[in-house]
């Protein structure tokens, strides 16, 4: 659903509004930010798409209209011009802002369950299906013992007498 509605008085809401509604003239990546070197610029764009705009909800700095996102975009480009590697820039930003800035969470103890979940669920589901299928086969092919009335009825049938009921 795309249904934002902001309370003017809430500061966070105002900051969020900045991401989507461009209250100033700021926009996601502007012409004056673009680096002359297309290779560096491509790297800048790829990096920006992986960095979270800190005042937005789930938006990358590449997409965000917020002022802070612009500052970060400019910062990333300055670092690139200074010759930093992508990893060095990421590390630098994580030191400043924490893991929160990475849209792709780092692989570590706290995120083990996050990254492991898809595989574990897939394997557990597969195992459950396999075991379930085997149990079902056993249950259907080897029905349980007859109940007492059934046994009596079977006996009468086998003895060749017509059932009484």
């Amino acid at each position: 659903m795309k249904k934002p509605r902001f309370r003017g008085r809430a500061v966070t809401a105002l900051m969020l509004a900045a991401c989507w509604l461009a209250p100033l003239s700021a926009r996601a990546v502007q012409p004056d930010e673009i680096l002359p070197d297309p290779k560096l610029e491509t790297r800048a764009r790829d990096l920006s798409a992986q960095l979270r705009c800190m005042v937005c909800q789930n938006q990358s700095i590449d997409d965000s209209n917020a002022e802070l996102a612009r500052d970060l975009r400019v910062l990333v480009r300055e670092r690139l011009k200074a010759g930093d590697s992508d990893d060095a820039i990421r590390t630098y930003l994580v030191q400043r802002y924490g893991d929160f800035i990475l849209l792709k969470p780092p692989f570590k103890a706290e995120t083990l369950a996050l990254w492991g979940a898809p595989l574990v669920i897939l394997l557990a589901g597969g195992a459950a299906i396999f075991l379930g299928a085997r149990r079902r086969r056993v249950a259907v092919l080897e029905p349980g013992a007859l109940s007492e009335p059934e046994a009596v009825r079977l006996k009468t049938l086998l003895d060749g007498e017509a059932p009484s009921s």
Binding site: R27, Q57, P105
Partner: protein, 660 residues
Amino acid sequence: MIVETGHYALVLALALALVNSVLPIWGAAIGDRRLMALAPSLALASFGFIAYSYFALTYAHVTSDFSLVNVVENSHSLKPLLYKISGVWGNHEGSMLLWVLVLAIFAAAVALFSTNMPEDLRANTLAVQSWISAAFLLFILLTSNPFARLQVPPIEGKDLNPLLQDPGLAIHPPLLYLGYVGLSITYSFAAGALITGRIDAVFARLVRPWTLLAWVCLTLGIAMGSYWAYYTLGWGGFWFWDPVENASLMPWLAATALIHCTLVMEKREALKIWTIFLSILAFSLSLIGTFLVRSGVLTSVHTFAADPMRGVFILVILVLFIGGSLALFAARAGGLKPGGLFAPISREGSLVLNNLLLTTSCATVFVGTLYPLALEGLTGEKISVGAPFFNLTFVPLFLPLFILMPLGQCLAWKRGDLLAAAQRLTYAIGAGLIVTLALAAWRGGPALSVILCGVAAYVILGSFADVGRRLFAGGASPAAAGRRLIGLPRQAFGSAFAHAGMGVTLLGLAATGWGAERITSLRPGESVEVGPYQLTLEDVSARQGPNYSERFGRVTVRSGGVVKAAIEPAMRAYPTRKMNRAEAGIATLGLGQVYMSIAEVAPDGKLDARIYWKPLVALIWLGSLIMAFGGALSLSDLRLRVGVGRRARRAAAANPLPAE
């Protein structure tokens, strides 16, 4: 006065829902047919009251009754009529009212149309639906009253959020709600069947049309929302893995799985426990979605207000309904007898694999969406889980489904032959390979896009392989095939179209790899190239809308000197809310789009613009329309089939067999 009667009608609806929660279920338990027969009439009456209440709120919005808090906060006398009507659900209180209205619509539909189902099951189902209604009516009346009055009414309202002043608001939320609140009825059916204690193929047959209906609406709702985001947010993205988008994707995935497994249950009486579980799960995910959106637990752009009372209330509803149904499930599921057997390589087997992949991808979205919340709650550490995570986990889980889709359809029930199925798909597989190789040889581009285009071609053609085989079986002539066409169940075409639609969407997604983007400043008279087109900014001017003013550029799109289209990207300013909104200029050329969005005009007369060429992008949404069409086709077949037994009996009565 109308407002007060609307409020009162809501209270009456709650009273009726409470009565309907108890009496029919009691009647079913003691076998009292009169008590059971109350359920449909009460459901209809309750629907009437809620509909009236909804009308009353709409009336207040349309007449700009600024003595209502809800109207003041979200309306403006100058707002166009369309947005006065759709603005009713463009806010928390109104959208919750729409929520219960949809609940009531589905209950009323069951009361009217499901006349051939077992009495006790119907009574129990409608009673469970009433529990949900009662809970949410109570929520509205206690925490989110849309009819609250103001002591001193202001002269003018605060207007609706500019982003919402769009035709998208008129279509997207109602469709989405019909979809994900519509899943409530499958939940009620499941809970009703568990209470009744009879779970067989009849259940699958009863629940399938409702699931399909909800699925069709949900598919359209999600697609519509994605297109809306695409053209209003100004940078041409259409899916952001935003928690709120995920909240609607999860029920969609569960409903898709449910549609497929009811097929197995209906045909073969297998997977009963799983079908019931999925029915509960699908609506539980809708409830979780509602909680995520309404409680403000995610400081999302979608959250209306961070009111803890509301959050806790919905959380209680959530725990009661999910916990209660799972407890009931645990108590009853053990007693279910296993159904028909099938080999691993069979239609059933492929549908089980489909369900495994769909539920795993659903679980992945679930974990990805809630993990940051859980981690912050437990350790205080803040992390972000964004698009890169989902692209790395969800996409690999979902892609095998595309390979499986045509293959599964070509497998026989009970025991299939994989090789024979693959043989039937020779053309589709061949076409896929040719597309891939041809693109790689002549077009180039990202490897993933090239491969996915091939997969898409395989899915689109392969989806019709089963139907084609049935039409031309035994080397039938086209004329004979035409005759068979009429006889073939529509459901076969439904699934073919739904699957092909998936393939079409995939093609649109794959083609994004060939898109072009330009970010530049333009002066009037200047041109810029993007993809195969040249765009010229003719001039920039301003105009006045009903409740906004806008500055827009006139842009001509040319290809090889020939004018192809004219677009007017604009930046609107809404004075009441002091907010701006970009209105992208979009020209659809073939199946691709030229997309241009502009910022403010700089003091030196330059216009900052983002311009995209997006080849085949329309296919993304066209594909969802085809999917929904397939679902609707299947649904129309089911509706006819309900009467089959009756017609057969009538035929038998008309021509009694000659006695021997």
